[in-house]
Each structure stands twice: as C-alpha cells, then as structure tokens.
Subunit: 231 residues, 2 copies
DNA sequence: CAAAAAAGTTGATATTTGTCACCTTTAAAA
DNA sequence: TTTTAAAGGTGACAAATATCAACTTTTTTG
C-alpha cells in the first residue's frame, strides 16, 4: 500500500471522529498496512454477510455503507456509515463471525485489515486500543440514539430523525441525492415502504422537504427538528 | 478497599464475560482500586441520571440495574444489567455526561472508578484497554440484538425475547422473582403496560409461563423460543 | 429500441396496538 | 388497623400502521 494512504485517514469529512490511526507510529502503521488490502465494491454489492466467518475488520475510505441485521423476522437496517468509520469492529472480540451484513450504497472503497494482526497491534499499543475503544463508544452512542428514535417515536418523527441524520452525518448538506430506495428508508425507520412513501409526501406537502425522484432536499430544517421532537 | 474485593471480580455468574481486571498486575490493580469507592444503592434509587456530568465509571458487583434513555418522547428501557457488568463505559470517551440513567431494581453494590485515573490506566496497559474494548463489543452486540427484537417483532415475540433474556442472562434460572413492574416490562418491550399485562396473561393461558404476582416462572422454554422466532 | 423487471404510488381495508375509563388487588403510610 | 396510594387488570374504543391489490413510472436488459 502506498504512502499517500495515510492522508485519507485524516477525516476531513468526520471531524468528530477520533483520529485513531494517529496513535500508531510510522513503523506500527506501516506494518499494519502491510497486513491490509484495499478493496473496492460497486454500488449494490455486499461487503460481507451476517454469519460469515470473519477474517478481516474494515475501514471505510470512501462511499456509503448500509448495515443490516437479519433474523427470523426479516431485515432491519441498523445504520448507515460513511468514510472514516470502521465496520465489524466487534469481530475483534471473541466471536469470529460478522454480526451483521454490509451493503455498498455507492461505490465503496475499504481497507481490510487482517484480524489477527490488528488484534496484535491493539495488544501492543495502549493508545491505539484506547482509540478503538472510543470509536466503539461512539458507535454505541449512535446505536442507542437510533434505538430511542425507533422505540419511542411514531412514523413522522422517525422519518424526520433519519433525514436529519442522513443530511448531517452522511452527506453534510441539506440537499442530497439519496442512494436509498423507499424500501430501505422504510427499513431504516421501521415502517412499510408504503408508509415511508406517504410520510415523505406529507413532508413535501407541509413544505419541509422537496422530492424529485431520488433527490431529497431539506427545505425547513427547523421544521423537521420540530417533527423529530414531537415524535 | 480491602484485598478480598479481587475475588468478586471473578464472574462466576457471568462466565461469558471477558475477565478484564485480570489484565492488570497487582500494582496496577491496587492503584486503580485506590481511586475507587464502593457504593451501595437501595432498591428504587437511581445510580445516576442522564445528562449529569460524569466523574466516575461504574462496575456492578451485585444487584440488578435498569438502564433507561430519556428524551422528548419519554422513557425507553435500553437494557438490564447485573453483576460483573460495567455502567457508563462510554463516558470514558470524549463526552463527559452520562448518556443514560441507571436505576437499582434490587439492592445494588457498585465500584465507582475515577474517570481520569481509569482512562490513564487504559493508556498505560494495552491488554486492559483491549479488554474494555471487548466488553464494549459485547455490550454493542446485546444492544443490537434488542434493537432487532424491538424493531422487527410484534408484542408476543418481544415479550418472549425479554423473558428469555431475563431468565438466561439475569437470573440464570427459569423461575424468578421479577423485580420489574408491568410498566417496566412494557417499557423494555416497547408497549403500553396494559398490553404487557394482556400478553403475559396470554402466555399464561397458553401454558408457557406461570404468574403469581411478581413471581414469573417459565414452564415451556421451547414454546417461548418458538414465539420469539415467529415474532 | 422493445420488453421485462424493479421501484414508486395510491386507495381501501385489516390488524395491531395504544388510550381511556374504571375496577380490583396489593402495598405503604398514618 | 384503617386509610391511602400504587400497581395490576379489563373492556370498549380510537389511532397508528401494515397489508393488499391495483396501477404508473423508472430502470435494466436482451
């Protein structure tokens, strides 16, 4: 892997993210990279499937990834992740199977690190391990926010939440070309795709958003926040 | 803190739990303990409230704790935790406020560690930091399981899930004196207390459980699992 | 380009679940 | 113990949401 890759770890798009790779010195970083592969996925492809024995942990360099959990009752979309986030960090723990599936919503470029070597690096560098702990803590915070939204709000509030989240966290702008089908949007908000469609129409009618096919533009951010608040 | 406390960290009741304190040597452990306080809470008391600036991270030595998240739409019960689990690990990360509230469902004894010293210990001992990373990973797994249950199943399935979870993870036996009100049980499963009551009655009628006031006994574990599966 | 498949859309209807009002039992306090 | 408050419980009803069956539009593919 070439040197310039170091640059892509500076999360200019995720300033909130803990700069975990900075805790490695040059030598440690290069060794870790030598046990890594850069892999590119096309839109629609799956990065990995739940239940598959895991040999790598991934770091997203670019693109948007959808995380879904499957079970006897079908699919639930846990979250969306974009560049400078890790995927499947928990496979570093005892369990060696991917705990969820990951799909590329855009062209996605990831760095895939060998689990064994990555764990080893953690055991040798406390700052690195602590940094990953922080990443995990942030992920958990995100998940529990979504948990709250999905469990306590009804459809309009849930949809408002996910739109705000997508605009702020993923695209970082109020207008964006949505890479998600209405079905996906429904899964993310825990509702049927028909309901998702109706809610979006309601929001358009109320002047909160503007829709043109897959392009969604948030017009009234404050109004959406209000909707989120009242549930 | 006296020496014998070391013993209580051997999680005879949670063999699945990563023995994270074993990664500290005698000296490190004693220093950490010297920055800790043992605190006892009575049933019904709150250990800490969401939003409060946090100065400690807690480890449950005994008792059962209910974790709740509050927001504009009221309360959601995130999870139940018992002995040998950490509370509020994520406050070690940048954010210094408790991200949720914790209540004692029984008499609860915790060890409260000073955040600054705990973080420092993590930065000096990679095995300890890695261990805490594993704990975090397990917590996340638990949370995402609950996420799936609450988002994809309907009432009977959700109640079956929580009963199985309480029996297996908290009480470790099929019959137990439930410390939760019907209201709490409803919050945990995302339903009104009246619905919780009705579901429990249904389960009793169908011979899955036996109820006598707060005492719930699981008669047909396989039947409950079946309910959980069909949602 | 034409044909087929997938995604989006709509209205009608059924199901699930919450709310309300009220009653009963249990636990706590005076 | 008596009184009061809290939790448990029930039925009727209302609200939220899913499902189904069309139909239209967009996208993909031969």
């Amino acid at each position: 892997m070439e040197k310039e890759t170091t640059e892509s770890f500076c999360c200019e798009h995720s300033p909130e993210h803990y700069p975990v790779f900075k805790t490695l010195n040059k030598d440690e970083f290069e060794k870790l990279e030598s046990h890594a592969r850069i892999i590119t996925f096309n839109k629609g492809e799956n990065l990995f499937k739940q239940g598959m024995p895991a040999s790598v942990v991934m770091y997203i360099r670019s693109g948007i990834v959808k995380i879904t959990k499957e079970g006897t009752q079908g699919v639930v979309n846990l979250n969306l992740l974009n560049s400078c986030n890790f995927l499947a960090l928990s496979v570093l723990s005892l369990k060696k199977e991917f705990p969820y599936s990951a799909y590329a919503l855009t062209k996605v470029e990831v760095v895939a690190y060998d689990i064994a070597f990555f764990s080893q690096t953690m055991m040798l560098n406390a700052a690195f391990a602590s940094g990953l702990f922080h990443v995990m803590a942030q992920n958990q915070m995100m998940l529990s926010e979504r948990f709250y939204s999905l469990c306590s709000k009804q459809m309009h509030g849930r949809m408002a939440d996910i739109l705000i989240c997508i605009a702020k966290r993923i695209y970082k702008k109020p207008s964006f070309e949505l890479q998600l089908s209405r079905q996906d949007l429904g899964d993310l908000t825990g509702m049927a795709k028909e309901s998702a469609i109706r809610i979006l129409k309601d929001m358009e009618r109320d002047g909160l958003i503007r829709i043109k096919a897959k392009n969604i533009q948030i017009i009234d951010f404050e109004g959406l926040s209000q909707l989120s608040r009242i549930g």
